[in-house]
């Protein structure tokens, strides 16, 4: 598994009174070519019209950045294609494209292309790093203003962040708190404080904190769409899931050694498995009779493990919740909720599945929902990979 994870997320608030954003953020990952492309576009005006302009721009920019075409030509195509605003008689949308290549783990290269969005920030931990840019003038026929594209390339290392935002952020509080709005310098020092206060702040939380601040500067009545996107290079958060006893008893010790040496969160599912681990690690398992719900047996506690649960019923429910994308805050307070939350908060999940057959489950009185361990683990893995873009590894024992 990779020792590096690129966390990309964004947060957005609509202009007051609008039900749709005029800013659009797109991201796509191509794990075979180790490439991530992020595009942020702000359409002219607000509401549906701006959303159409921004969406068109973002999608074109996104697709074109995967093609070998020259950048200036791509930008011209985008601008020529945009429909003309009926009020202002011009066609216009801004964009920022970050093309991130992470084939070399020590130096992730970023190609940044910006057109009329506030310049993005590069942070190394809580310090802002200046980005050297070159400008390209477009000289497009029918242009109503000077069109300059800023281009830069730099490298990101472990702990670095790239923060992109639209003018809704820099112009927040204009005329009330600040004569000219929050401005780039204000945004920069705020981000620096946020990171210094919480060095491991996730992209989701950081982008949310920035748009939240901008929104409050606007007096909870956003004057423009406010969007912020963050790219964060960090160590992956790992979780180990152990379920089922190993096929032969001799491998029990092996399993426990793997659990002990694993760095990250640890979950053990299954009564028998928990007993093996408890016996070999010489730690007591205590069942927490307060948190259970019909269909989900109570979870247990054990020193050195983050969660100990029953096996097949809990796992079956976890698989269903993941597949149906049920939000954790709508789940009852039981083992499944804690299980799903732990998986959601990880980037890489390592499964160790024991292949020993449980004689007690062969009773014909047992409901059919108690499926085959391997099938259920397959469902969980598929959901994590396809719906949540997590990396997973499966190992049988």
């Amino acid at each position: 598994m990779n020792d590096l994870f690129i966390d990309v997320d964004y947060h957005q608030r609509f202009k007051s009174g609008q039900k749709i954003a005029g800013d659009v953020f797109l991201q796509s990952r191509d794990s075979t070519s180790c490439q991530i492309v992020c595009t942020l576009s702000d359409g002219l005006g607000s509401g549906v019209k701006a959303n159409v302009l921004a969406n068109l721009t973002a999608h074109m920019a996104h697709k074109l950045s995967f093609s070998p075409m020259h950048l200036g030509k791509s930008a011209k195509i985008i601008m020529n294609t945009l429909p003309v605003c009926s009020e202002r008689k011009i066609s216009y949308a801004t964009f920022t494209i970050a093309d991130i290549r992470y084939a070399d783990k020590d130096a992730i290269t970023v190609q940044l292309i910006e057109y009329d969005n506030p310049p993005a920030f590069h942070f190394s931990h809580s310090e802002a790093v200046s980005i050297a840019t070159t400008s390209i003038e477009l000289h497009r026929e029918g242009a109503f203003k000077q069109e300059i594209i800023r281009q830069s390339s730099f490298t990101l290392r472990m702990g670095d962040r790239l923060v992109m935002f639209t003018d809704g952020v820099t112009q927040s509080g204009m005329g009330t708190h600040f004569p000219l709005g929050w401005r780039r310098s204000g945004v920069c020092s705020h981000i620096s404080r946020l990171i210094a206060g919480n060095p491991d702040i996730s992209s989701r939380e950081l982008s949310g904190a920035i748009t939240g601040k901008a929104y409050s500067l606007d007096g909870m009545d956003a004057k423009d769409d406010i969007t912020c996107a963050v790219v964060y290079v960090r160590k992956p958060r790992r979780t180990l899931v152990v379920t089922g006893p190993p096929f032969t008893k001799e491998r029990d010790a092996d399993l426990v050694r793997k659990i002990e040496s694993f760095e990250g969160k640890k979950i053990v599912s299954g009564g028998t498995t928990a007993q093996i681990v408890s016996r070999l690690m010489e730690k007591r398992v205590s069942v927490d009779l307060s948190s259970w719900s019909p269909g989900v047996p109570p979870a247990s506690k054990m020193d050195g493990l983050d969660l100990v649960t029953e096996g097949m019923l809990t796992l079956g429910k976890v698989a269903t919740c993941l597949e149906q994308k049920i939000p954790t805050n709508s789940m009852p307070n039981d083992a499944v909720r804690r299980y799903v939350s732990l998986l959601m908060d990880s980037d890489q999940v390592h499964f160790i599945v024991g292949t020993k057959i449980n004689e007690a489950h062969q009773d014909p009185n047992i409901p059919v929902e108690i499926g085959i361990r391997r099938t259920i683990m397959g469902r969980i893995r598929k959901a994590l990979e396809e719906q949540y873009l997590k990396e997973t590894v499966l190992e049988y024992m």
Binding site: G270, G271, L313, A360, I370
Partner: protein, 89 residues
């Protein structure tokens, strides 16, 4: 009183939970409050009884003061505990 509490272990393993063990976890609702005060409840992930198929016992299993009981129901548990409390008291 200084009476020793009756130790009750309820199995919450898969096989027991689906065959009636879940009902036993509602012990606070079906047991007499006085009796409830005399007992100490604990869950356990497996009492290892389900795998001793030669014995021919069936889930769900409960252990009361170290003694194993099979095919437990709320009514049966309540009677066993009443008896235990009577003997102990």
């Amino acid at each position: 009183m200084g009476q020793k509490k009756i130790k009750v272990k309820i199995c919450v393993g898969t096989a027991c939970f689906v065959q009636g063990g879940a009902d036993l976890l509602l012990y606070e609702d079906f047991l007499d409050p006085h009796l409830l005060g005399l007992c100490e409840f604990e869950g356990t992930s497996c009492l290892d009884a389900c795998k001793r198929d030669a014995v021919g016992l069936k889930a769900p299993f409960v252990e009361v003061d170290g003694k194993l009981y099979s095919e437990m129901t709320p009514r049966k548990l309540s009677e066993i505990l009443k008896e235990a409390a009577h003997v102990g008291g």
